[in-house]
Structure formats: structure tokens, C-alpha cells
């Protein structure tokens, strides 16, 4: 589907230009430097900024990069804003290893554990799952768990994920590269040349092939 929206300004600065992005079923990755407008783009799609040309009709799940941690149980966080039963969250709770935390107080969890809970919530609730830097704060094992869930759900849901982890490019179905509020590349992941990333991030980047997967390594 095509999602179109209008520019977002803060005072005189334009943080996101008018946009039209292609969104495919599966994993749509949004990458770009800090301040390129990734979060603003995601927030636009979720409906927080009122700048979409037309409403996105799908049920949405959203994992924010910043959130408040109230003193309530994990089950209540999962069920917040929802009319579902707890059983509907069990599948992903088990997949991501949070099923034993359900009765604990949310504010007492570690940063990574809180993120996992919110990811479980988004996966269980939305057909369109929007995640803002979900991997930040997660250890390697939990990153793998999240990736496995994405693989399992590719045919069923649509994902929009912003990330700094360039290894995700080869695991995605569509890539959007942003810089200074503009989308400067939209296309198949395998067509993304390392030169585009070099121009985007302003640093030398090398593509490394590992059989059927590949990643990008910065020349630090």
C-alpha cells in the first residue's frame, strides 16, 4: 500500500518533508542517521501528528522508543487500551520469553524487559506493527527472539521498523533510507548499494556477504 502524508515542522525547521512511501506485507525497514526524521515518520503513520492524507485502516500496534513506566502489573500493561483477553497475548509472551513476568510490576523490570513486553503487546494487537528502534536495549538473545517472531509473522502482518542495526537490511522485504527529513531511497534490500549508505551516514561503509545474507560494516 501507499501511505502519503504532509510535512511536519517544528517552528521554522522542517523535520519531515511531504512523503509518499510504499509499504509491503512483511518487514519494511526504515534506516537513517539520528535526526533524519525516522521517528517522526513512524509517528505520522501511527496517527499521532494528524498529517496523513488518508487514515490507515489496519489495526495498529506501536512500540515507542520512549515511554513512561507506571506502577502497574505487566498484565495490565499488556491489556491497556485493549478489549482483548489475556490468552491472546500468551503466544508472543512465550515466544519472547516474558510469560513468567506477567505478575511482576512493570516499573521494576529492566529496560530490555520492558521493551519486550511492549513488543509482545504490539505483535498481539496489530495487523500493522510499527516499531521505533525495537532492538535498542535488547541483548543478543532477545534480538534473535524478536527477529524470529518477525520471520514467523512475515506472511501475516505488515511491519514498519526503524533501526540502527544494519544487519536487518538483509532480513527485510523493503528498505526506506532517510536523510534530513527526506526519503532518499525506497526499494528492494538487495538493490541497496553501500554507496547510498555512505552518502547517508557520511562515513565509509562496506557490504559484507555471508552466503544468502549480508550486512554492512562501518569502516571505523
Amino acid at each position: 500500500m501507499l501511505i502519503q502524508g504532509f510535512k511536519v515542522k517544528r517552528g521554522e525547521r522542517v523535520i519531515l518533508e511531504d512523503f509518499g512511501i510504499e509499504v509491503v506485507r512483511g518487514v519494511n525497514l526504515v534506516i537513517g542517521p539520528n535526526g533524519s526524521g525516522k521517528t517522526t515518520l513512524l509517528r505520522s503513520i501511527v496517527g499521532a501528528l494528524g498529517n496523513l492524507r488518508s487514515r490507515v485502516p489496519e489495526s495498529k500496534g506501536y512500540v515507542p522508543s520512549e515511554f513512561f513506566s507506571p506502577e502497574m502489573k505487566v498484565v495490565d500493561v499488556l491489556l491497556s487500551g485493549s478489549r482483548r483477553n489475556l490468552e491472546e497475548y500468551y503466544r508472543f509472551a512465550e515466544l519472547l520469553g516474558v510469560q513468567h513476568m506477567l505478575d511482576r510490576t512493570f516499573s521494576a523490570l529492566s529496560t530490555g524487559e520492558k521493551k519486550l513486553v511492549l513488543i509482545v503487546k504490539a505483535l498481539s494487537e496489530g495487523d500493522l506493527v510499527i516499531m521505533d528502534e525495537p532492538m535498542s536495549g535488547l541483548d543478543v538473545r532477545n534480538q534473535k527472539r524478536v527477529l524470529d517472531s518477525l520471520t514467523e509473522l512475515k506472511g501475516l502482518k505488515t511491519f514498519m521498523i526503524s533501526t540502527h542495526e544494519l544487519y536487518m537490511v538483509s532480513r527485510s522485504d523493503w528498505v526506506i533510507v532517510m536523510k534530513a527529513g527526506r526519503t532518499i531511497y525506497q526499494g528492494e534490500p538487495r538493490n541497496l548499494h553501500e554507496r547510498v549508505l555512505e552518502e547517508t551516514y557520511g562515513t565509509k561503509i562496506k557490504r559484507v556477504d555471508l552466503g544468502d545474507r549480508w550486512t554492512f560494516i562501518p569502516d571505523l
Binding site: 509517528r43 501511527v46 496517527g47 499521532a48 495498529k60 500496534g61 506501536y62 515507542p64 522508543s65 520512549e66 515511554f67 513512561f68 513506566s69 507506571p70 506502577e71 502497574m72 502489573k73 495490565d76 500493561v77 491489556l79 491497556s80 487500551g81 485493549s82 478489549r83 510490576t105 516499573s107 529496560t111 520492558k114 511492549l118 496489530g126 510499527i130 536495549g137
Partner: protein, 324 residues
């Protein structure tokens, strides 16, 4: 919940027995003569009013603490109550225009509501961006402004119009001589708040975690907050024009409930309403003469609330803020 209900029943009983006139327990079930009059027209409506006022204030505090992500919020700290009191006192200036006193009783809740709303919005504008303490400081500032204005106005009023309730009534509360008609209005307000609270409990929880997540459910969290603030301003405005400012119930009760049960609105709201009713009736019993002398009710609720506020600050609950 069971404990709160028992407490409520006990405090009800105490509230009916103790007051300016001590009603011996044997007259409770077979009242005669003067005791019947006192019981039916003064004591019962006053105790019911205290219970409902306590429930309304406790629920308002619980919802505010969640929606504004601030464990120190309640309708008193946010300046809502002081603004409402100012509005109510302002109405008495209409006496200067020779309007009948009875008219003023009807107009004052409306003006109280308007100023309760204004003062809350003012506090929000001042404190929104400065973290947990910003709202509290904003509320303190706004409360002081309106309390001072009340003091000034009363200085002018009380000489010419001695029927206007005095300063301590407005600033510290006095639950007395509340009629059944006002009880009916309080009941409607309580049902509205509890009803909306139960219906939107999960949404309140979500709004306390993330605004963007709330948008993802096609709900505008800021409009949601305004809806609640509007409703609470109506209720608090009415309460203040009736009994003056009854403070701190909204802070004390949700914290006790949170400690023993859950911080989710689904438990916090119903539990706070019962415990709030119980504590307010108990405070009113002490306030109205059980210790031999009449003490303004907010003085008592403040003394109970103080250790709890200190506990919150020391434990650093106020610092469990933005998580990245």
C-alpha cells in the same frame, strides 16, 4: 476491598453517632423526637455527603495521577479546588447587586466549575514541560494565587454581608448541614465519574504509558485528558461551593490502594472510591466535634497525607519517569 468496605461501614456508624450532638446507639434503630430530626435531616445526609465527596475526590486523584503521570497529583494540588473556591466566593459579590441569596446558591456551582477548569488548565500550562515537580509547583503557585484572592475578597465581603461563609470554610473545608438535594447531585456526579472510569479504565492505563500508543488505538490522548479534566472540574467545583476545599484525599487514597493492590485504573478506581469514602467520613467525624472541638476537615486530611507524601518523595517514586 473487603477491608475498605468494613472500614466504610464502621466509619458510617461512627459518623452517625458522633457529632455536635451525641446520639446514643440505642436511638439509632428506634429514633424518637429530637434524635429522629437530627438523624434524618442533618446527620444522615451529612455522612452520605462526606462519603460521596471522599469517593469523588479519591477517584479524581487516582485518574489524575495516571493521566498526568504524576504520583503527587490530586484536585487540590492541581489548583482545581482553589480555583473552584475562588469562583464560589466571587459569586457572593453578586450580593452587591441585590440578588436574592437563594439565587446565589444556584449560580455559585457554575462559576466555581468555570474557575476550577481555568485553574487546572493554568497549572497544566505552567507545569507540563518540567517533569514531575513542575506540575506540583505550578499547582502550588495557582493555589496560592486563588487562595490569596479569596482572602482579599472576603475582607471586603464579610463586613457588609456576614452571611457569607468565612475564610476557614473556603480554604480548609467544613462538611456540615448538607441537605438531601445536594446529596442527590453528588450521587449523580459520583455515578458519572465511576461509570466513565470503569468504561475507560484500560484507556487511562494506556494514556499513562505512551501518548503515541494511545494514538495507535485511534484515540487522541490530549482530548481524553481534557474530557476528564472537564468532568472533574464540574464535580470538584460543585463540592467546593458546597463544603469548601477538602484537600489531600486524592493523594492519600490512591497511594494506599497502589501499595496493596494494583496501579491499574481497573482496580485503582473502584478501590479508591470506597477507601476515599471511608477516610473522608472518618475525617469528618473528627472534624465535626468528636475530639470536643470543631476542626476544619482539610487540616485533618493534610496531617494524614503528610507521611504518605514524604514516603513517596523519599522512595523516589516521583523519579520513575521517562524510560528510553
Amino acid at each position: 476491598m473487603k477491608f475498605s468496605l468494613v472500614l466504610l461501614a464502621v466509619s458510617f456508624l461512627l459518623g452517625i453517632i458522633f457529632g455536635e450532638v451525641y446520639i446514643p446507639p440505642q436511638y439509632l434503630f428506634f429514633p424518637r423526637g429530637v434524635y429522629l430530626e437530627i438523624l434524618l435531616y442533618i446527620r444522615l445526609p451529612t455522612v452520605f455527603a462526606s462519603a460521596m465527596i471522599g469517593a469523588i475526590l479519591a477517584v479524581s486523584g487516582a485518574v489524575m495521577q495516571l493521566l498526568l503521570r504524576n504520583p503527587l497529583m490530586d484536585p487540590y494540588v492541581s489548583g482545581t479546588a482553589s480555583g473552584g473556591a475562588f469562583g464560589a466566593v466571587l459569586t457572593y459579590f453578586l450580593l452587591a447587586f441585590n440578588l436574592p441569596f437563594s439565587w446565589i446558591i444556584y449560580i455559585s456551582p457554575v462559576i466555581a466549575f468555570l474557575f476550577a477548569l481555568l485553574s487546572t488548565v493554568l497549572t497544566l500550562l505552567i507545569g507540563r514541560r518540567t517533569g514531575v515537580y513542575g506540575l506540583v509547583i505550578g499547582g502550588v503557585v495557582v493555589s496560592y494565587i486563588f487562595s490569596s484572592l479569596i482572602t482579599v475578597m472576603l475582607t471586603f465581603l464579610e463586613i457588609r454581608y456576614p452571611q457569607v461563609p468565612p475564610l476557614y470554610f473556603w480554604l480548609l473545608g467544613d462538611v456540615e448541614l448538607v441537605g438531601w438535594e445536594n446529596d442527590a447531585i453528588l450521587l449523580v456526579l459520583l455515578i458519572l465519574l465511576l461509570g466513565l472510569g470503569t468504561y475507560t479504565a484500560r484507556l487511562i492505563d494506556l494514556a499513562s504509558i505512551s501518548d503515541d500508543m494511545t494514538f495507535s488505538k485511534d484515540v487522541n490522548p490530549n482530548n481524553f485528558r481534557l474530557l476528564w479534566i472537564g468532568l472533574m472540574s464540574i464535580a470538584v467545583g460543585f463540592i467546593v461551593s458546597l463544603v469548601g476545599v477538602v484537600g489531600f484525599v486524592g493523594i492519600i487514597v490512591p497511594h494506599i490502594v497502589r501499595r496493596f493492590h494494583s496501579g491499574s485504573a481497573t482496580r485503582l478506581i473502584p478501590e479508591s472510591s470506597v477507601l476515599g469514602a471511608a477516610i473522608t467520613v472518618l475525617s469528618e467525624v473528627i472534624s465535626n466535634g468528636a475530639l470536643g472541638v470543631k476542626i476544619p476537615i482539610t487540616a485533618i486530611t493534610a496531617l494524614i497525607a503528610a507521611p504518605i507524601i514524604i514516603y513517596v518523595l523519599v522512595r523516589g517514586v516521583a523519579n520513575s519517569g521517562i524510560q528510553g
